[in-house]
Symmetry: C2
Subunit: 336 residues, 2 copies
């Protein structure tokens, strides 16, 4: 019998998430039953969607009851297996939750291949749900063509930075919006974006006009809100908007109004389409093979921001919303 | 030399269109130059998009300068032709404008076939831009499947009433929103919609819940605004929203906020797509052959609301916005 440590949802957040919305819990962990595996968490992934999962309303996954362990994607090591599909030492990825140990019947658990020429954290920064989101959210939803102008919000984020680099590989003119000069520098000078806009200091409509002289063909939207409205005013005929996230809305205490200019979808015969990475699980190999290939060819870079200690997860989550993370945000719970 | 009568744009409307936004003008008409045809207007079509054309901003067509004759679709008879493509007596459809006569070089003018088993007004109520809009806006943009739930706003309008009937032909469960009990009766009992909601007296979110027990797979949107928001809350996975119009926004004096729940596009992996009938001109024959076929088989009905006299055009336009028209709104300018 082991002692587990975990974060439970203590309250529904109102507005920004507070540390008091979580409660630390220590409890003895049952031994795995027949068919179960015991997993020791190595990393958990912090993502904007964590905020959605804390709401009372069902989203694309069932709502979590108060007092339940916080949901979270993670990578762990199998410590004990009573499931024929897994063996001790397997490295697995799935919704392990914000906890040191978890029990699973194997459903939704992916065994990670060993011997790949990438570190384990690449399964957050390049592969896993981030890679699926960037790869299919751009290529499948918008079908980018060489010479088209691609605009990306939260462009220095885990997903956005990949989307922009894939856009460059596909021959697009790529413009990223991000929240600091350091991040602007990173996406433009390190990742090869054609232009970067600091949305906190620039007038976004003017900056888009200046940096997208041929208008906007594709918008990869992570934020919704005012930036979506500014983009809709500058879309070209047959523009495509891939709706990946609306982070500007997630912390809102009451519903925020949407863009006032959706009628531009008519004027420009344009399309907005939402998607979730889960829908592409069956095509993961296609994406990951290509992404690793590009990485090894030096065409793709990614960075991870690893925070040590499960105890720091709640206070780290806000970095996603104030933009202070530098790369894919991960909490390391235990040794690899 | 003939005397022409016409309505000019006198002012940019603020909010609702007023009669004083137009100015009546009489002027002598030049004889057709080489390559031109002289057309006598028989009917003009009043459409929600007329309101868009009065704005200072360019839309999907160039903005009209103040003092210019009001733009409008129409049907007319060629009275004199100095263009080898047209002969005296030809019946033509195009942007003739709100005037008794017009001169054209033939660009954008369609010669209507003679001998079809439908009256001339069918080119507004069933064929023409209305037919293209309904046919392709539903079938091409949303690809409806038998058993799916299709919701339509301004469902008793020229486009909406066709969309619902085509939806029924395709095996959908069809729910229409319209603004009077008489119109509810018409679409349900005469046109065969499965359910009708009077949006002026019902609580729309509740009524949608009650009348769409399996959720909403397809929304044909003519209005935007609050009804779009209510629909977005009840869409199913992989829902499609065909964005045909946003009439709730056209008369707004200042921009109206959009729906606060666009993030549901993500949760439901749904799509919103705008279109314009012009984009389908090259496929008009396909649509019109099918629509006439369905009409003759008794599977489609349409109705027209013909107002006599060009002088009444400005005061008639508001019927589209207060919902007091009964069928496709047309002004008869002269005899057929």
């Amino acid at each position: 019998m082991k002692t587990n440590q975990q974060w439970l949802i203590a309250a529904r957040p109102r507005g920004d998430v507070k540390e008091s919305d979580f409660r630390w819990n220590e409890a003895t962990l049952a031994d795995p039953a027949d068919g179960e595996v015991l997993i020791r968490t190595v990393y958990i992934s912090l993502d904007p969607t964590n905020r959605i999962w804390m709401n009372e309303a069902e989203s694309y996954l069932p709502a979590l009851p108060l007092g339940h362990v916080m949901r979270g994607g993670g990578i762990g090591a199998v410590e004990e297996s009573r499931n024929p599909g897994f063996s001790k030492g397997d490295i697995v990825q799935g919704l392990l939750g914000w906890q040191k140990y978890s029990l699973s019947d194997g459903a939704g658990l992916a065994k990670l291949p060993k011997g790949l020429p990438v570190p384990l954290t690449a399964f957050f920064g390049l592969l896993g749900h981030i890679g699926l989101t960037a790869y299919f959210g751009l290529l499948d939803i918008t079908d980018p063509k060489p010479g088209e102008t691609l605009v990306i919000s939260t462009a220095a984020g885990a997903v956005g930075s990949l989307v922009g680099q894939i856009g460059k590989i596909k021959g697009c003119y790529v413009v990223g919006l991000t929240g600091s000069d350091e991040k602007c520098h990173w996406i433009k000078d390190e990742l090869g974006f054609d232009a970067a806009i600091n949305y906190k200091t620039a007038n976004v409509p003017d900056a888009l006009k200046q940096n997208c002289p041929k208008g906007i063909d594709i918008y990869f939207d992570n934020v919704g809100g005012a930036i979506l409205e500014a983009v809709l005013n500058q879309i070209n005929m047959k523009a495509r908007i891939s709706v990946c996230g609306m982070i500007s809305q997630y912390n809102a205490d009451s519903p925020l109004p949407g863009p006032s200019n959706l009628a531009n979808l008519i004027m420009k015969r344009a399309r907005m389409e939402g998607f979730l990475c889960f829908d592409y699980n069956s095509r993961a190999e296609e994406a990951f093979t290509q992404l690793i290939g590009w990485l090894l060819q030096g065409k793709l870079k990614y960075r991870v921001d690893v925070v040590q200690g499960l105890e720091n997860a709640p206070r780290t989550l806000h970095k996603l919303f104030d933009g202070s993370n530098a790369g894919k945000l991960i909490v390391q719970v235990g040794p690899e």
